[in-house]
Symmetry: D2
Subunit: 349 residues, 4 copies
């Protein structure tokens, strides 16, 4: 089968690979639709170390092709979604409530990391009964595929933020995860959502997904403006959706005492991420810092699909580009180099 791989650090391309076979608890899925993620670019640049001929991609939907002998809930032909994170559900970290950390820190992140990813005609899914979800008829593939990572990660940002109904929220950066954090804050009942973003097309999407106010960090002092919008108190919840030391610091500064900084960003650089000491209340202001990795699993995916089926949210306006799998090289370039105001690139198989 055809697979789009990272040949080595800095180099991508197609290659032929055998169709994978499932172990007793596993499934193999024929890919129908996928999305490219900025993490794919991080990986290719060496963010998780060197890899050789590793199939890229972790956001996909498809049709079950083959199942292992012990799989009970799925059969060939089922239209399915798989989360970007596919935990080992019996692991100690899963028993502790953190399946994304099963098998070690970030250990639930298997696709395009410790095994081949989903940018191929077929891909392998561990613990199929626990990690696949059937897609309801009323949810098309190009919508469902957003659940794998974008909805799950963005919503996690809102969920970890412990937003009260009517609470105030700032979302720092309105890339696709930030946009879904914005949508997530709205889904949790936030009363005022402040989107921090400078790119006009993303500002527009932020408003669509629930931002009541937009702050452009290139023309305004974010801290001053957010305090102003919150009667000088700061927000209940600040969601970091970029993964930069400066943004993280801003998040601490604009969060009220007793509030939460919820992180979704991946920090790729530097030895430290820095907490501004005084704004953090010298370690005594009851400002909590939460982090996490995209929740996976069948239950999570079923719930996200239900949000789409009930028409609470439509993620497809984020699809700025669509390519057939054959044009993956161009598709990857558009996403990687952030060409043409790209938000998300969708691939059809």
């Amino acid at each position: 089968m055809k697979a789009f791989v990272m040949k080595e650090i800095g180099r991508v391309g197609f290659m032929d690979k055998p169709v994978p076979r499932p172990g007793p608890l596993d499934a193999v899925v024929r890919t129908t639709t996928a999305l490219i993620c900025t993490s794919d670019s991080h990986t290719v640049k060496g963010g998780i170390g060197p890899r050789e001929n590793l199939t890229l991609g972790h956001e996909a939907v498809g049709v079950v092709h083959e199942t292992g002998a012990e799989v009970k809930g799925f059969r060939p032909g089922d239209r399915v979604l798989v989360g970007a994170i596919t935990p080992d559900w019996g692991d100690l970290a899963s028993q502790n409530g953190y399946p994304s950390q099963s098998g070690g820190p970030l250990g639930g992140f298997k696709f395009a990391n410790i095994k081949d990813g989903v940018f191929a005609e077929y891909f392998h899914v561990n613990e199929a009964d626990a990690n696949l979800a059937k897609i309801p008829d009323e949810v098309p593939d190009e919508m469902a595929v957003y659940c794998a990572d974008m909805l799950s990660t963005g919503f996690m940002g809102a969920e970890h933020g412990d937003i009260p109904i009517g609470g105030t929220v700032a979302v720092l950066a309105q890339g696709p995860v930030g946009l879904m954090a914005t949508a997530g804050a709205r889904l949790r009942g936030a009363g005022r959502i402040i989107g921090i973003e400078s790119v006009p097309s993303r500002q527009k999407l932020a408003r669509l997904y629930g931002a009541d106010e937009i702050v452009d960090f290139t023309t305004e002092d974010v801290v001053e403006r957010v305090l102003d919008l919150t009667d000088g108190q700061g927000v209940d919840t600040a969601i970091e959706a970029l993964g930069a030391d400066a943004t993280f610091q801003t998040a601490i500064k604009i969060t009220k005492p007793g509030g939460t900084v919820s992180n979704t960003g991946y920090y790729g650089e530097g030895e430290f991420v820095r907490i501004p000491r005084v704004a953090w209340g010298v370690g005594m202001a009851d400002k909590t810092i939460r982090t996490g990795l995209c929740p996976g699993g069948r239950l999570r995916m079923e719930r996200l699909l239900r949000v789409l089926a009930a028409k609470r949210l439509d993620p497809t306006p984020m699809t700025t580009h669509t390519f057939p799998f054959d044009e993956m090289e161009r598709a990857f370039e558009v996403s990687d180099k952030k060409l043409e105001d790209v938000v998300k690139v969708l691939i059809r198989f």
Copy 2:
């Protein structure tokens, strides 16, 4: 001043009372708009025991008339909302996180219970800085007044239900509190909301506020239907919004193991409310039962007002009737006897 009172059990009417005066921490508010609640009917029927010439009503907005010497955040002329529940914030129960229980069980419930209520030209508010909230210009009185009890109680039903994004929820009865519990479930991101209701006009409002499915208990088996709508699992959260033993039992039955029954109803009759033993998993199915009393206080009211200001919700379609204060007797009758498909009766002063 003119006040609409419960003269004794079973008898209401107008009477003249002096305008109240504030203690050092208190305020007196000139009433502009109020709502009649079914609790007012319970009270008149003797639900909380005998009362003599007690002013009725606990849902109102108005304009600050006079403040005590120690009040810092409000001054005469401020347009304000006061929660139906006005806690003593220093009480042990408040320190424990349950201000509605300050001063004893249900002790935060003062209006038309242990002191005169709001169906008068002026009313008194204890701890004004902690219990009043300024109403934003963009929120009209007839909208803001719904925050006092309907939004606060209904949303509490959803909040106590610990609804996950994409979770399944049933709301049992779609009176005004049930409708706001439905809206609350939607605000928390529920993926499927099932409204249980038989009255067509209330079914219609339920759909408006977020119900995805309506189950009519007069024509369908509720338990069977809800299990059917949830792949046989039951809902994550069942919100009881009626206050009847039978409905409570149904709520237990339709909740999945690990789910929550969240109560908003007032149980006015019988020695017991009964848990069906087997459906409750013989006490071992991890089905949690939460209860509570309308949260009050400035922070709560500010957050609810923010939901309205952000146009996340419009409660005014629940106003089926409007009367001037002069016609309070007729207004009360409409609400009390549930005439003309009444949902809520609004009073203008």
Copy 3:
């Protein structure tokens, strides 16, 4: 191998059965020590319906005899503990945080329910990597075996009770689960623990495990006395450890507004368990009712073993009787008929 079984409702005895074989994820354990539980008596009386030649018992430790091909963390010869509840860790209920409910209500309860139990020379364990735990050298078998159910269930009562440091707790009935709930309340830092019990030998054990006060329901009014001991407020947490309608009602009555009734009892009789309406604050006093089933799994067992290894608690004073497996019939009779002030009967293999 020899197994002690329920032949039919009301009749127990020995029989010969083949040694079980593990599936790919499973293990077979050679039993060394077991405990008899009152649930075994419930089962024999028909509490979970008819069973034929079902091996009884769910509390045991032993030595790994054989492992399936996919088991990674255990090998023959390992001294191991297995929880009474052995969840399916990939199940939707497990993903939802309620592994004891995996596979349906109370579905994690497999031993002596949906498969043979542990009163046999060998027993089978599903998902061995996730459900077994190695026993540290410093913890002897006769101590470790208490983790399987007694510590796990009793501590759950305390944990679900959400006890604050210095909080007040009542534990209703001081059987072995109640005693471990008492110990659990102490382990969570309760400031005053009130044990409700009439049997002198159990009162004495209750004091040993942390009860500061004992209330004898045969000679005192429990509600009056507990209110007296808590300045009229009621306890933060009442733990029901009997499983009787009357005790449950008392638990509601002695819990303060904002407090929690935490249930560990199994309710075996009647159509309903009844909530006293007025003491429950007519459904509005913020009194929460939690229930649950003994948590299982490797992580739980490792944590419980750590409590024993650190000498925070010694459960062995509860062992009032010890028998060899050969004398199982007499042993069962002592436990079943509550002879000779029995608390727990330990079986050596």
Copy 4:
């Protein structure tokens, strides 16, 4: 009356001040016993900015001298404890669950910060009904005084750490707050407590209060040793009880994915407190960072006193020095310069 004050940055001494008078909700307490805190030294060094003739001290017990007209629960002659933090209970932050932040970040910290402290013959207490607690007869002053800050802050460290029964905990530094965090971890049921400390007398106290293992950072690699003691996984909870960038970094490193770093330390230096990026799982390892300020209030104090009354803990072994108030200058020097293996200095009035 005589008061021990900070005359200006770097200079302390006695001076005469008038006995304070209570406002309507307040009380004035005659001091009987107090403790010196390292925060007093921070303050004198300018840690909270310049102050002129500010009475120092925030840990004290005494006897009620005078009460305001509205005070209901206390009268002259009552033996009372007051928390170091005395919140405004009606404030928005208190309503939000964070009373220590009432009136602004760290705003509950009034003594020796925004008003005179307790190192005087009399001191003033705001909102007396909500901030005082009566001391039970069985708890002597020299024991009760530890509740004001040491128990409340140290236990908060354990409580914020969300320690499961049987969980693993490390407490970084065994000064008086660290020792009480150690005791708090034991009170929450931790299964293995690792105390990080190099001073032999403090190591000894750490063992007394519940440390199962001691790690001496001057002779061992803390990260390596803690991982070793936890099967390579790291602890469930790391409690920072020093307030240093290096210790904070260690806390992040030794905490497992899904674990919590709970801060009690005051960070007095530097622009930043730094998170080690990779050990933090690049922002995705579900490691939560909690902070807080000593909880105050009557309920908290009553609960802490109950722990002492029940003899769960004896804090008096931490009293290494006792002085009469007349010798306050020498007492302060011993505490400030950490002379003679000092842990806590107690002052008798």
